[in-house]
């Protein structure tokens, strides 16, 4: 009898709990890459405060290493259980969007478009649709070793690509040290930043006299010992470049402000003699080293949940949160108001190179674009054949024109095949896709408040350098 009573009481309690239960909890899962453990408190704090302000919403944050997030995302989309939001960079987003794996976010952005820097939304617009909420970006600055500059008879930072190369040669001649370490594996980005198209009308365009002249300038600097030979053409030559700079073997380092912070930590003596300046803009007006990271909405998310996802994405990328994140991570916010914060623009009295680097980068930030070529299948393989040709030309192993012509022949063969396939499948021809993806020439804003210089079209920059 007692047992019966007990069971009845338990059942009644259970029923009461069910009746009194809160409305169903909606889960929003968002993914980032390579944020743990440094930014764990930041993201967990964001999630908890959002949950507190939005009862009924449960936020789940998942962080993956950057090299596996794409595979994980594809797997989850195919399984029908995609996360609500995922961190992507622009080339990934472009590829996913072309494969129909992302949801356009134009409606979710609502009136928030003007909150983001125009250049960042332009980077995320493919085929007239926007595919993400900009979160942060980066931009390169020039750090230079003042002792090496002094020994080489140089008194200021370079203002153009030609000057950078000339300075590098002068440093090599007078000090025996390398002047520059550009990321030549991203030569396509450098060409685009310099206003030299990589593809035109569906055909390779990088073997024109202007392109040959650019490679010839690099070759002359290489021959003079002005370019650091370590990993010059490696996919990622940043470790070699910063090591050489920290070791006092490199005159100029073109890298984001985070690199200056690293120099401060690892090589205090070199940091003490480091000068900083904004990286010159290319003739296109595009700043060097732009690499936008954003939150995209994968395809297949629950459509009923889209308004909540949009609201959460706007919260994640609002001015206050972007500012807080950018300050912690030494990156630049993609939100317009946050980007104008005095933290980035004002140089405090007695500031060191690290603080100066932040404001030097902020000057270039509105001109930051992620430079890449979209719409070409197996682009990475084509890029590598271009890099190989440039390497042969720069190192003097092959005539530059011949090397570029040979690479162009490989490109044209593949591009022709792809165009044919596109026509068969009724897709947009390559040329049109490329044309729409090329960054537009940007009108440049007024003079820099901090550096007293006008970023103008005459300033040439080191294009691909900072894409690390």
């Amino acid at each position: 009898m007692k047992i019966k009573l007990l069971l009845t009481a338990l059942m009644a309690l259970g029923a009461a709990t069910l009746v009194a239960a809160a409305p169903p909890v909606q889960k929003i899962e968002f993914w980032t890459f390579s944020m743990k453990p440094k930014f764990t408190p930041y993201f967990e704090g964001l999630a908890r405060s959002y949950e507190a302000a939005h009862p009924g919403i449960k936020i789940e944050w998942v962080d993956f290493p950057w090299d596996i997030i794409q595979t994980k995302l594809v797997t989850r989309i195919v399984a029908g259980t995609p996360p609500a939001l995922v961190n992507l960079n622009v080339p990934w987003a472009d590829e996913f969007a072309r494969d129909g794996l992302l949801t356009p976010v134009d409606e979710l952005l609502q009136g928030a478009r003007q909150r983001y820097l125009a250049s960042t939304l332009e980077d995320l617009t493919f085929g007239g649709k926007t595919y993400g909420f900009p979160m942060y970006s980066n931009v390169a600055v020039i750090s230079y070793n003042t002792d090496i500059f002094k020994a080489a008879g140089l008194t200021r930072a370079p203002n153009s690509l030609d000057e950078q190369l000339a300075f590098a040669r002068q440093i090599a001649q007078r000090t025996g040290k390398a002047g520059l370490c550009p990321a030549l594996s991203k030569i396509d980005g450098l060409m685009m930043q310099q206003g030299l198209p990589v593809i035109k009308d569906g055909r390779a365009a990088f073997n024109s006299p202007a392109h040959v002249a650019l490679v010839a300038k690099l070759a002359a600097t290489y021959k003079a010992g002005g370019l650091l030979k370590d990993s010059l053409f490696a996919e990622d030559n940043f470790p070699a470049a910063i090591d050489a700079y920290k070791g006092g073997r490199l005159g100029m380092l073109l890298a984001p402000p985070t690199a200056v912070k690293r120099i401060e930590t690892d090589a205090k003596d070199i940091y003490a003699k480091t000068g900083v300046a904004p990286a010159p803009l290319g003739p296109t007006g595009i700043a060097d080293g732009g690499w936008l990271v954003h939150f995209a909405v994968p395809a297949g998310v629950d459509k009923k949940l889209l308004p909540q996802i949009g609201e959460f994405a706007r919260y994640l990328t609002n001015d206050a949160n972007q500012l807080a994140f950018a300050k912690q991570a030494s990156v630049y916010p993609a939100a317009a108001e946050a980007a104008r914060d005095p933290f980035f623009l004002a140089v405090p009295p007695g500031a060191g190179a690290a603080e100066k680097a932040v404001s030097a980068g902020a000057v270039s930030m509105p001109h930051s674009h992620t430079l890449y070529v979209s719409g070409v299948t197996d682009y990475d393989e084509l890029r590598r054949s271009l890099v190989k040709a440039v390497e042969a030309g720069v190192t003097g192993r092959q005539d530059i024109q011949q090397a570029l012509d040979a690479a162009a022949a490989i490109w044209n063969k593949k591009l022709a095949r792809q165009s044919k396939l596109s026509r068969i499948q009724g897709q947009t021809p390559i040329a049109a896709q490329l044309a729409s993806s090329q960054p537009a020439l940007m009108p440049l804003s007024g003079p820099s408040r901090i550096w007293g210089q006008t970023p103008n079209a005459a300033q040439a920059g080191w294009g691909a350098g900072g894409i690390w």
Binding site: V74, D230, L232, F233, A234, D378, E391
Partner: protein, 289 residues
């Protein structure tokens, strides 16, 4: 008859667990992977057969062709590895003071992870690294040599590292075989007046023949499948000159998610592995007397 069947049944029962594991983790992936090499498999689209398209693509691709050539060039290393390992085994087979330390030292590269090997040899081969420092101090060279940035030298540097990593492994195998050579045979030969050299050629080498065959085949397969050292030292550069066939497969499959092409490349490597292993078996098999 019944006893024979029961023995066979018992044998299959004992084999069954291993066969199940092999079927699940070796035979099925090999079979399914080979099938996928003839398709346009992608996680996001339905799979359809594309015949030999993936093979046409890879053979039209400079990186794979270079990689395949380089994988065959890697075979040049096999005699050096085998002769070196056998020489080392003979050396450390002597009872000398501190010989165990040497045995362990030669084996250390085998148990060192490839990432550590990459960092260490990256430092050695660096233009400002230990090797150039030494060569310049000894005045063998006037300027630093770009060991890993020169497209002719880089592949040989990587081959050297694989040789360095492999020596210890084969040395241990040869050492075990050497210690199994009956001492009486050596003693009888000494009594018959055989020289050290004669004993080595007439007794030791014939007794080691099966081990030499196995080691050679393993070494050939390892050479054809080399890719880790490439990944940690050069990532295929400079000028794609250090691509190997399997590194191309890894690059396509895991870096670019082009699985059918990666599988086609692996299929070609497998065909080479099987073919060359069969040749080795045919020509290195101990002859029945």
């Amino acid at each position: 008859m019944v006893s024979g069947r029961r023995t066979a049944l018992a044998a299959w029962l004992f084999l069954a667990p291993a066969l199940v594991l092999l079927a699940a983790f070796s035979f099925w992936p090999v079979g399914f992977g080979s099938y996928l090499a003839f398709t346009d498999y992608s996680l996001i689209r339905p799979t359809s057969s594309v015949g030999l398209d993936n093979f046409r693509y890879i053979f039209d691709n400079e990186m794979f062709v270079t990689g395949l050539k380089n994988s065959l060039v890697f075979l040049l290393m096999v005699p050096f590895v085998q002769i070196g390992a056998l020489g080392l085994a003979v050396l450390v087979n002597n009872r000398l003071p501190g010989i165990r330390l040497f045995r362990a030292a030669f084996y250390v590269p085998v148990v060192t992870t490839v990432s550590v090997v990459g960092i260490m040899w990256g430092f050695m081969f660096h233009e400002q690294g230990a090797l150039n420092y030494m060569l310049m101090a000894l005045r063998f060279v006037d300027a630093p040599v770009g060991w890993l940035s020169n497209d002719t030298l880089a592949l040989f540097c990587i081959m050297f590292v694989t040789l360095w990593r492999g020596l210890g492994w084969y040395m241990v195998m040869y050492l075990a075989a050497l210690q199994a050579v009956p001492a009486e045979m050596q003693e009888a030969a000494i009594l018959d007046g055989a020289s050290r050299w004669q004993r080595f050629w007439k007794i030791t080498v014939p007794m080691l023949h099966p081990t030499i065959m196995v080691c050679t085949i393993l070494s050939v397969l390892a050479a054809l499948k080399a890719y880790q050292e490439v990944d940690v030292l050069t990532q295929g550069g400079p000028m794609n000159s250090t691509f190997t066939a399997l590194y191309y497969s890894y690059d396509q499959g895991l870096k670019h998610l082009k699985l059918p092409r990666a599988l086609a490349a692996s299929f070609v490597v497998s065909v080479f592995c099987v073919g060359i292993a069969m040749l080795c078996l045919r020509y290195l098999k101990p002859r029945q007397k």
